[in-house]
């Protein structure tokens, strides 16, 4: 009996207990059986609880933190709290800059930031919202640093306006007010190549980086899924129809790569595809080419290495489904007069679809978020969305943007995972 049938039978049983349909049990016996059921549920749960707690802390909480980081950005609010307080009452939709009192407060805070050497951080943050404002803030901070506190309290605003004419511009104040929000959607806007214009409306950015990268990752993942299916299908079919002894031996050639370290396989592709690598040497020795072809550090090398790495994920589910298909259907179609091709397309192929869809979804899900192989063999052309997330985590230190990009990717994966669960059932995943 399958798990689903068991559950169904169980539900039917408990339904009978509850509805009081004549089951021939006394009320005491019914209570007893309910107690037993509760006890069994409790025992089953007790086995699972330790892992649930562990996974919640070790895995789900980190993912939650990342989602939170993608909208939570208190940096500016921590740098200039009093200015933001004062800006609360200012109407940013108008065309006048904030009043003198607010300017004084800001001048004072900028003075302190400059003294603590933190004005650069503010400049960086505001510059993200309004490119070019970094120098305004930095040079003003240098000038205000020299003034004393009393001057700043009374006429800080004037000094500020005198320091740089950009402070007369209402845009920089708008940017400061909006950057001061602790919870922001701005990283999601950046991650989808959108931005807010001066009126606060959401508009497209001039540069189209992230959407393009998402599209490219999807395209590469689709291509890899197609390639693994195209070359995995014949092999899986051959293995499924070969005599058991041959199939078992050949299966080792599928499983050994599957078990071999990802880095080993990536290393192997570097050795094969590089300028003086095996493929180029071979082609030159045969005089097919006279100059080595640049294959490594391109999109081509990413695709071929990932196809190699993910191929077993396609072959294994296909094989296990094909193994269960009774060959007599196909023979029956042939003997009833179907042409082999049409018998294959209309009888055999539809029966392999569960395996094909399982393999395709698995390969697609894994390849869309791949990091290591593109990072090592991809060059600039073969980078995928994961690589830009790593870049923002490690090099540009824009963690919030990395988190926003990661969250979008996560939503995409969750959707695919949900489809996979509906279609295949996650508990039906088989290994090896």
């Amino acid at each position: 009996m399958s798990q689903a049938e068991l559950t169904a039978a169980h539900t039917a049983a408990s339904f009978n207990e509850d509805s009081g349909v004549d089951s021939g049990l006394t009320p005491e016996e019914k209570r007893q059986s309910k107690r037993n059921l509760r006890r069994r549920k409790l025992i089953a749960t007790a086995f699972v609880i330790p892992l649930i707690v562990f996974v919640l802390i070790a895995f789900i909480a980190p993912i939650g933190t990342m989602l939170y980081r993608s909208v939570y950005h208190p940096t500016v609010a921590q740098l200039i709290p009093e200015t933001l307080q004062a800006l609360q009452s200012w109407d940013e939709s108008g065309n006048s800059i904030p009043d003198t009192a607010t300017l004084n407060v800001f001048a004072k805070e900028l003075h302190y930031l400059a003294k603590e050497r933190r004005s650069g951080k503010l400049a960086e943050e505001i510059n993200r919202g309004l490119p070019g404002s970094s120098s305004t803030i930095k040079s003003s901070a240098r000038k205000l640093k020299k003034l004393d506190e009393a001057t700043l309290t009374s006429e800080g605003g004037e000094h500020l306006l005198a320091a740089k004419k950009q402070w007369q511009d209402v845009r920089i104040w708008r940017t400061m007010k909006s950057s001061g929000e602790i919870f922001t959607d701005s990283f999601y806007l950046t991650a989808t190549d959108l931005t807010r214009n001066e009126q606060g409306e959401i508009v497209a950015r001039d540069t189209n980086i992230y959407i393009k990268l998402f599209a490219k990752s999807l395209k590469i993942a689709l291509l890899i899924t197609f390639l693994t299916a195209a070359i995995g299908f014949p092999l899986a079919y051959y293995l499924a129809t070969a005599p058991a002894k041959v199939a078992n031996t050949l299966m080792v050639f599928v499983l050994l790569p599957f078990w071999t370290s990802l880095l080993v396989r990536t290393t192997a592709w570097i050795a094969i595809l590089q300028t003086n690598g095996v493929v180029n040497d071979f082609l030159m020795a045969l005089h097919i080419i006279s100059e080595p072809i640049e294959m490594l550090y391109t999109q081509f090398s990413t695709v071929i290495a990932m196809t190699h790495i993910l191929l077993p994920f396609m072959i294994l589910p296909l094989y296990s489904v094909m193994k269960g298909i009774d060959p007599s259907y196909f023979r029956a179609a042939l003997s009833l007069g179907a042409k082999p091709l049409s018998a294959f397309c209309r009888i055999y192929f539809p029966m392999t679809l569960p395996g094909l869809s399982a393999g395709a979804l698995l390969v697609f899900i894994i390849s869309i978020g791949y990091y290591i192989t593109p990072a090592l063999v991809g060059g600039t052309d073969g980078q995928m969305i994961s690589n830009i997330i790593a870049f923002h985590m490690q090099s540009s230190n824009n963690w919030e943007l990395a988190a926003a990009l990661g969250s979008i990717l996560l939503i995409l994966i969750t959707l695919l995972y949900w489809i996979y669960d509906r279609l295949v059932g996650v508990s039906n995943i088989k290994l090896g």
Partner: protein, 283 residues
Amino acid sequence: MQFPKYFNFWHKLGMHSLRLTAWAVLAFLMLPILVIIPLSFNVEPYFSFTEGMLAFDPDAYSLKWYAEIINDDKWILAIKNSFLIGAAATVIATVLGTLAAIGLSRADMPLQRMIMAILLSPMIVPLIITAAGMYFFYTQLGLAGSYLGVIIAHAALGTPFVIITVNAALSGFDYSLVRASLGMGASPSYTFFKVIMPLIRPGVISGSLFAFITSFDEVVVILFLAGPEQRTIPRQMFSGLREQINPTILAVAVLLVVVSALLLLTIEYLRARGERIRTGQIS
């Protein structure tokens, strides 16, 4: 190849080209792995075949890259770390995963499908997302750059595999054995170790091997979470491939292929054994 009598020329051609394609795909799977073996014995510091190697000149081959591994403290530390972190993560993943799989296999388990989906999610979420999230969260807990942090992270990544294999081993499990054992007065823990465990042992062991290889092969989380103290073999290979490529990496790669082959053989043996236990051909 034997063909049925009713096969005409086109059928045979089709079968032959199928076989040819299948072998070509097998070659595509295996050749990249086989190619690195001779390259790791290259006497020159390159990733490519030299003329001497192609002429099978013994002087063109050497073991010096293997010696290099043994003489390099960084590689020795990496090897130690890989086994230490892998073993610790495997123990945690196996214990928690086995218990959970037993609980989940019971029809009495509430919210079974949803819990299963959540517990298997570490396998599906891209590692870069896991790694970034863990970096944010573990730093707050002070676990970044520590062995404990890396071990916990790897244990979390390994549990789905244990659940899957133990779940498969439990698929034919007869729970009346448990009732019989308890009914005859055995304690629950005695029943667990003497009745349940012997029957699901192959599944538990292959699950733990999967958990081990997951940790052993993992590099993205290590990149984000580990300090220089916790560098593992894949981490060392990653920086080697990015900075200065030399055949030491190929020598390490060959050693890793040997490890994988051993693990594969063990798993296959266990699977065959598990199959026989389930079908009652073994006592």
